[in-house]
Every structure is written in structure tokens, then in C-alpha cells.
């Protein structure tokens, strides 16, 4: 009986587990350089991205607080996984969200929104020209506002999280749809693997 049932049971577990060394995010053919910019953090201070994130795995996302769906789900997934990871891994990760809606995202509002997920997440705001330049450097289309027909607007923006590793380059990005299990698999690899020669 067991030989008959075993294959069906294994099928329930899904596909065979991937090679633990195989990253689940989408890898860039050519890694991206870490962009050089200074924006304003939620406490009003200047945040020099290269200086502040040097030596950390940095997950960079462009979004806005009126985003009801993609942005909070990304943030919630990352926060939940960082909570579960060993501190020696989680403490080497910074999460940075740059608002694509500076007109509505005041610093207190950005802070309130991020605190829903993790009080350590960094929120940044700045002028549109700078934010557009950063997105272009990361090969993302610059975000743009779009009327929703009810007198308000939504902001179209890249739904991907860009992951910079300790070598200060981005080798991997995470499109929307990436799940907590994928983050839990990949974050330790982003932290512990030596990406410098890749």
C-alpha cells in the first residue's frame, strides 16, 4: 500500500525543493551599481543612501502610502520574514522605501504607514527629478500619477524590490507575487553569500 500512496503524497508537497543555492528572485544579467543619492528620511534628516546602507543587504522599493495593495503586501511580507530570521541575518538587512507620491506622503504619514510593518524600515522623500533619476538608473520606469476618475489619483510605479548586497551592487530583484517563503529562502543567501565576484 505504501508504494502506491507515497508518490501521491510526495506530489502534495509540491515541486522538489530547489537547490538551496538557487536564488528565487530575478537575477540581473549585469549587476546594477548602487545609486548615489541623498533624500530626506522620516525624521527630517538627510539620508545618504550609499553611506547609510554600506555593508548591509538593502531592499529598496518605490511606492506610496495610498497604494492599497502592492506596497503594503511587499512590506508586510518582508517584515514578517525578518521577524522570523535569526538576528545575525536580520540585523544585516535594511529596508528602504522611497515615496513616489511626495505631494501626499508627508514625513509623519510615511512614518505611520511604515510603522505598521516595522519601525526600523526607512522611509525617504525628495524631489521628483531625483527620484526619477534613481529609478532610471535601476532600469525602472519613473513612477507617474494617473487620475482614478473620482477626483483622486493613483501612482503607477515599478512593483519590484531591488536587493543590494554587501558588495554594494544589485544582483537580484523581487517582482510582485514573491511570497514570504521565497524571502525566507533568499534573504540568508543575500546576506551570507559572497556576491562580490558574481
Amino acid at each position: 500500500m505504501i508504494p502506491v500512496l507515497l508518490p501521491a503524497t510526495l506530489a502534495c508537497l509540491g515541486d522538489p525543493p530547489p537547490d538551496p543555492g538557487e536564488i528565487r528572485g530575478a537575477t540581473y544579467v549585469e549587476p546594477l551599481a548602487k545609486p548615489d543619492f541623498v533624500l530626506t528620511a522620516t525624521d527630517g534628516s538627510d539620508f545618504d543612501f550609499r553611506t547609510e546602507t554600506d555593508g548591509f543587504v538593502t531592499l529598496l522599493f518605490f511606492g506610496y502610502t495610498h497604494c492599497p495593495d502592492v506596497c503594503p503586501v511587499h512590506m508586510a511580507n518582508i517584515a514578517s520574514v525578518l521577524d522570523e530570521l535569526a538576528p545575525r541575518v536580520a540585523n544585516r538587512v535594511k529596508v528602504v522605501m522611497v515615496t513616489t507620491d511626495p505631494a501626499r506622503d508627508s514625513l509623519p504619514r510615511l512614518r505611520e504607514w511604515l510603522d505598521n510593518f516595522d519601525t526600523g524600515f526607512v522611509g525617504l522623500t525628495g524631489d521628483t527629478a531625483t527620484v526619477n533619476r534613481i529609478q532610471r538608473e535601476l532600469r525602472m520606469p519613473p513612477a507617474f500619477a494617473q487620475e482614478t476618475g473620482d477626483g483622486s489619483y493613483a501612482v503607477a510605479h515599478s512593483a519590484a524590490v531591488v536587493a543590494f548586497t554587501e558588495d554594494n551592487r544589485a544582483h537580484v530583484r523581487y517582482p510582485f507575487g514573491i511570497r514570504q517563503a521565497d524571502w525566507a529562502h533568499d534573504i540568508p543567501l543575500l546576506v551570507e553569500r559572497d556576491w562580490s565576484g558574481l
Partner: protein, 160 residues
């Protein structure tokens, strides 16, 4: 022998996933796993699944009364950019269903008049062209709880 019974049980129960029970059954419509989330005090999103066991009907609006302004959106990703698109109507043919979930259909609540906290319950009225309004008691969850709820419903096979 015990292991045989255990293995058989796993298979019969669909890999351990429990069949979802509808939260509301009314006028031939079944509403599954309603969930609201609120990342800031003036904004919330609502997710659920609907199965139409009656004749073809159309979801024409969602209403939360004085709590806020509700609208249905979906998400489209084009040219590397994700954007929200308002949705006027969702036809649900007899015997089919639709699931509101992140990255797809969602109800957006704007101008929310009172802060929503995990543990609160709000009433969300789904207005159908034929069936009329179906009121759904919708718990406010954390984002992690909502994601878990949505994934459980997706895996349950309850939405044809």
C-alpha cells in the same frame, strides 16, 4: 499500518487543505474569507471571494456607508509599472466565482472616517444587479493574517 492510514488521510483531505466554509450565503451567493486591512488611518482595503450558485449576476458596487468611500480596483502591470485600474462591474456567471486578492481585484476604502484596528469588524455591502445588497461582516486583520487568509482560500478550491 498506522502510516498507511495517515498517508491515505492526507490524500483524501486534499493535501491537508481544509475546504473553506462560506462566511455568508445569501440569494445564491457565497462569500468567503472576507478580510479588511488598514495601513494608515484614512485608508483600507478589503478582500474576499464570491461564488455564484444561482443565475449569472453582476457585482456593480461596494458600499461601507459612512465609514468611507469604496471603489473596486484591479492591478495591471505594463512596461514595468504596476497601476491600479478602476473596475465598474464584475460579471459572475452561474457556477463560477471571483477572488479579490493582492495583485488583482481589491476594494479600496478612501476617506475612512475612523481608524480601524485589528480585531474590529466592519460591514461591507456587496451590491449585485439581481441579488441586491449582500452585507458581509468583515474582520480587520493584520497584513500577514490577510495574506494567510487569501492564500488559504486560493488553496482550498472553494472558488471555481
Amino acid at each position: 499500518m498506522r502510516s498507511c492510514i495517515l498517508l491515505a488521510g492526507l490524500i483524501l483531505s486534499g493535501c491537508g487543505e481544509r475546504a473553506a466554509e462560506p462566511a455568508v450565503v445569501e440569494a445564491g451567493l457565497e462569500v468567503y474569507s472576507p478580510a479588511a486591512v488598514s495601513p494608515v488611518s484614512d485608508l483600507a482595503s478589503v478582500y474576499f471571494g464570491v461564488v455564484n450558485r444561482g443565475t449569472t449576476d453582476t457585482l456593480v458596487a461596494v458600499d461601507v456607508g459612512e465609514l468611507g468611500v469604496a471603489s473596486i480596483h484591479t492591478m495591471l502591470e505594463e512596461g514595468g509599472a504596476a497601476r491600479m485600474v478602476p473596475v465598474e462591474l464584475i460579471e459572475i456567471a452561474a457556477g463560477t466565482g471571483v477572488q479579490f486578492r493582492p495583485g488583482s481585484y481589491h476594494v479600496m476604502l478612501n476617506e475612512v472616517t475612523r481608524g480601524l484596528s485589528s480585531g474590529d469588524t466592519i460591514v461591507v455591502s456587496l451590491r449585485f444587479a439581481k441579488a441586491g445588497s449582500v452585507d458581509v461582516a468583515t474582520p480587520v486583520l493584520t497584513y500577514s493574517e490577510m495574506i494567510e487568509s487569501v492564500e488559504a482560500l486560493s488553496g482550498s478550491g472553494a472558488i471555481p
